[in-house]
């Protein structure tokens, strides 16, 4: 780990992060740093604690120890929605969209305005909203499906929709949990394209198993094992790390 710069150069600094469930430490004294504009991919065997790390950053799980700083703000003490407001967006492993609502409504609900009770009550669909929805829908290849009920979309389209729901929030840090899981080869390609396009100007953390996809997008890779960092660096370097080969890539 050569890049020990001062904290403020990083978008996200995770230090000494630990969480334990009844004594079992799912994440154990983990530290890593994400730079401005970086695409970081976290890989590791099942149960390594990857998803838990995202849960901790976005506030879904409360840490036992350690700190998560995002642009100098301590996230571990904040509520989930406050973390979102500060600019962190998160996509879940299984596409998590509102299946009873249309694509349009899905995006509209994610639009970052009228987030309070009164705001939601008196929210108006004005030009700003319409334009933002149109723009994002185009980006995620769904502009023809705006009035389709989201539950009727294909699996890949649902994944895109959820990414779109994050995009419309204009987050500074985007966290994606297995964005191409269950996609066809063609869809994967388009998704990689999509990610490359949308990551301009923001930092991204991705959890992924698909090594080809990882190679396509990753700036840096963190390998996790049993709640700890096993290895970190460029894809090339990680691939050749004997520890990584032993626990993960080897089989």
């Amino acid at each position: 780990m050569s890049d020990k710069n001062s904290v403020k150069d990083f978008v996200l600094s995770v230090e000494g992060l630990t969480v334990s469930f009844d004594g079992f430490k799912a994440v154990n004294d983990l530290s890593f740093y994400v730079e401005e504009g970086e695409i970081r991919v976290i890989i590791g065997p099942n149960g390594a604690g990857k998803t838990t790390v995202l849960d901790l950053i976005c506030g879904k799980t409360k840490s036992t120890e350690g700190s998560i700083k995002f642009r100098g703000k301590e996230l571990t003490k904040m509520t989930e929605h406050a973390i979102v407001h500060s600019g962190v967006g998160r996509k879940f492993q299984n596409p998590s969209i509102y299946e009873d609502l249309t694509v349009f409504e899905n995006l509209e609900l994610s639009f970052p305005r009228g987030r309070s009770v009164a705001g939601a009550l008196f929210f108006r669909r004005d030009k700003e909203v319409l334009e933002a929805v149109e723009e994002v829908a185009e980006t995620i290849f769904l502009h023809d499906q705006l009035h389709t009920t989201a539950g009727l979309l294909s699996h890949g389209q649902k994944q895109w929709l959820e990414i779109g729901m994050l995009l419309i929030q204009k987050p500074d840090l985007l966290m994606l949990d297995e964005p191409v899981a269950g996609m066809s080869v063609a869809e994967r390609k388009r998704t990689a394209e999509l990610l490359n396009r949308i990551t301009k100007g923001r930092s991204v953390i991705v959890i992924e198993h698909d090594m080809q996809f990882v190679e396509d997008i990753a700036h840096r890779v963190t390998v996790m094992h049993q709640g700890k960092t096993l290895s970190e660096g460029s894809m090339e370097r990680v691939k050749n790390d004997p520890k990584v080969i032993e626990v993960y890539l080897g089989h």
């Binding site: 979102v84 879940f92 998590s96 009873d100 108006r124 319409l130 149109e134």
Partner: protein
Amino acid sequence: MSLNTRSLKTSMHSIKTVFPKGDLFYLAVLALFLGVLLPMTLDIFRLNMVGKYLTYAFVAVGLVLCWGYGGILSLGQGVFFGLGGYCMAMFLKLESSDPESTKIQSTPGIPDFMDWNQITELPWFWEPFYSLPFTIIAIIAVPTIFAYIIAVAMFKRRVGGVYFAIITQAIASILTILIIGQQGYTGGVNGITDLRTLLGWDIRTDSAKYVLYYVNFVCLMACLLIAQFVRKSKLGRLLVAMRGREDRVRFSGYDVSSFKIFVFCLGAAFSAIGGAMFTLQVGFMSPSFVGIVPSIEMVIFCAVGGRLSIFGAVYGALLVNWAKTTFSESFPELWLFAMGALFIGVVMAFPSGLAGIYKSHVEPFILRSWQKLKQAKPQPPEPPTSVPEKAPPPKTTPQNAAQPHPIVLTGSISPVGK
């Protein structure tokens, strides 16, 4: 692209957003039914009974928002109904306990039950209820604040679903024991009875019953309008969204608990208005409307009407109560069987209640007849509002959730593949 923009632009129009054509029609039918048809055909005795049933409709409408939309099942709505009713009853009781008519008591000027319990001075929390404006505020504020406290405690800690239901049930049971036990202050198990006048106006006469029926009717319509506004606002869509994907809503930057708190408080406020109207029309309030059994019955009114339909809830409250009265008059033995079967039947066969039946059976039939009629005569002879004259009262489901209840239904009913 241009097509999308056009259709979106039209949906920007705000009155249409709150009242799509269908809902406006349902509202009009309901208003005609309650405001014109029933008063014309029923004598004042029956109309007063309908008025009493309609006070439960307030609770049912609140439950549609809480339970149908918000997914929060409260088994303690009777608490709020009761609190609203007690606030009203306290005002009326003070008015009927003037020193003149209570001069045989050892302490004239206080309610009779206090006198029987050796209370010689009006308790401090009764004092403000001499004022009607205070009472009207209290009717809504007291239950809403109480609901707020419960809701903040529970939703901030993410207590939901079954746990919430059971805790509200326990609260209902605590409050009942308290009201019964503190009889010097509350009238105990007998409740607060013998309420006569409101600012000198005798509420027991037939003419007063008419007026009260219409006051009740107007309040109900107002609540329906509020409910409709909430339902059609972004908040309504958020509630639907939350029910299925609470985490997604949370990670879209919403404080989920605040929306639940809001809708629960709104439901409580509706129930409280219902309770106050109940006191006015029936002339007393007692702890038997606070407990678990009435609270669960209120849920069934909502379920029968259709848990996603605010208009259905009103019909549900009317139908179940009407059936209860009729059945218990003619076949008292069978009543509990019928009620039990209704619970099971609605849950098993008609999870969307009357509204669902209307959507799936009645409406298509009307539309088909309408089509036939159109084909027979080239010019449409009459406006659509007069069509369902002979058909049972129309019920509705909200537009954006035209399928039956999304989370509670199994995949086989919901068209949404999982």
